[in-house]
């Protein structure tokens, strides 16, 4: 009996050794952040418009946003990201100040076989709205310089490129409009920035 059990165990172990690893990929099916979990269409809040990869852990993304971009404030509400069917709170956020400011929320995501460790992020520029009624932070409406979402992404792109990091963009089409507390609407232009945080840079 014990010999049968031992054979079964050995067979199972050999299967584990030769079986290919489960497919590993960055999951882009959740292209928006959410104000709460579970993440539904009704809880969407911001577009995901930046992805850090190639050793893009959330901790490295956070520290390099501080270093290259100078956003060190940590205030802001918590939002949530989707990943492989789950819904998870952000890991970190950084902002350029407390008033009208740039702001990014970051969540470490699934490892990708081609892109390495990844972190998804929602970046934007937001105004501190006090008149005609105080409502707090509102992402800039669509305008000549792009929406506040586009401005936040563009700022990160410019600063990381200036620091020598390779960047690229991909069309995600996540252009849904979001109403802000000042009554305006803001939307991404649909282009997501990819920043490679390769260790050769640091």
């Amino acid at each position: 009996m014990s010999r049968v059990l031992l054979s079964t165990l050995l067979a199972a172990m050999s299967l584990l050794l030769v079986a290919p690893p489960a497919p590993a990929h960055f999951d882009g099916s959740g292209r928006y952040t959410h104000v709460a979990c579970p993440g539904t269409a009704a809880t969407r809040s911001d577009p995901v418009n930046v992805v850090f990869g190639t050793w893009g852990t959330w901790g490295r993304a956070e520290s390099q946003v501080e270093t290259h971009v100078g956003w060190t404030a940590t205030s802001g509400s918590t939002q949530h990201f989707l990943d492989h069917g789950g819904c998870f709170a952000q890991h970190a956020q950084r902002a350029s100040g407390e008033g009208s400011r740039f702001h990014v929320r970051i969540r470490g995501q699934h490892w990708d076989s081609g892109f390495g460790w990844t972190a998804a992020a929602g970046a934007h520029h937001e105004d501190l709205v006090l008149f005609p009624f105080p409502c707090g932070h509102a992402v800039d409406a669509n305008g000549p310089g792009g929406s506040g979402f586009d401005q936040g992404r563009d700022e990160l792109e410019a600063r990381f490129r200036a620091a020598g990091h390779e960047t690229s963009r991909a069309w995600w089409g996540n252009t849904q409009s979001f109403k802000q507390c000042d009554g305006d609407y803001a939307a991404s232009d649909g282009w997501t920035l990819f920043v490679r945080l390769h260790q050769v840079n640091h």
Binding site: G173, T175, F178, K179, Q180
Partner: protein
């Protein structure tokens, strides 16, 4: 904000019905949308699936589209909110099924289909894109059923060449 929201919604509906002029914030009246000639515009009428048309937005800052917003939501500080439904109309040269780079990490899955005689795709987590000759119509809504209900309600903003229903989706610019 919750107390103000119904009044804001009412004001939006009244402004649209009265043909209030477009402002510097990129909003259009329905009359202004009817005179738009950039590419054919489709919308789902002044109400769809119980949702009133509450805003028409014109964006031409790199992204180039007209958006028809249905229903309302209540945003708070530091967090915008998603309106119940939205119909964005893009020039087909700017947005089409080929815009998605399937090799890029995180590229959303496309489920190809046909809607009202036109190639279409259900994209990732909640958008329906319908590809006509000159325009791409993008429908955002919370459920697949609502997206399809809106697709059935699509019609020309002007010209009325294509009415709502199951017929071929087609408008002139």
């Amino acid at each position: 904000m919750r107390i103000l929201a119904p009044f804001a919604l009412l004001a939006s509906v009244v402004a649209l019905a009265a043909g209030d002029g477009g402002g510097p914030d990129g909003r259009l009246s329905l009359e202004e949308a009817r005179s738009f000639t950039g590419f054919p515009l489709f919308y789902a009428g002044q109400e769809v699936d119980g949702l009133p048309l509450t805003a028409i937005l014109r964006r031409d800052d790199g992204a180039d589209y007209v958006s028809f917003v249905y229903g309302d939501c209540t945003p708070v500080s530091d967090a915008g909110c998603a309106v119940p439904a939205e119909v964005q109309v893009w020039e087909s040269a700017d947005r089409n099924a080929g815009s998605y780079d399937r090799s890029a990490p995180g590229s959303p899955p496309l489920e190809r289909t046909t809607i009202r005689g036109r190639p279409a795709a259900l994209v990732g987590d909640g958008a329906l894109e319908i590809y006509t000759d000159e325009s791409t119509v993008v429908v955002f809504a919370g459920t697949r059923e609502r997206r399809l209900a809106i697709a059935r309600a699509l019609r020309c903003v002007r010209g009325e060449r294509s009415g709502a229903g199951d017929g071929l989706l087609e408008c002139r610019s």
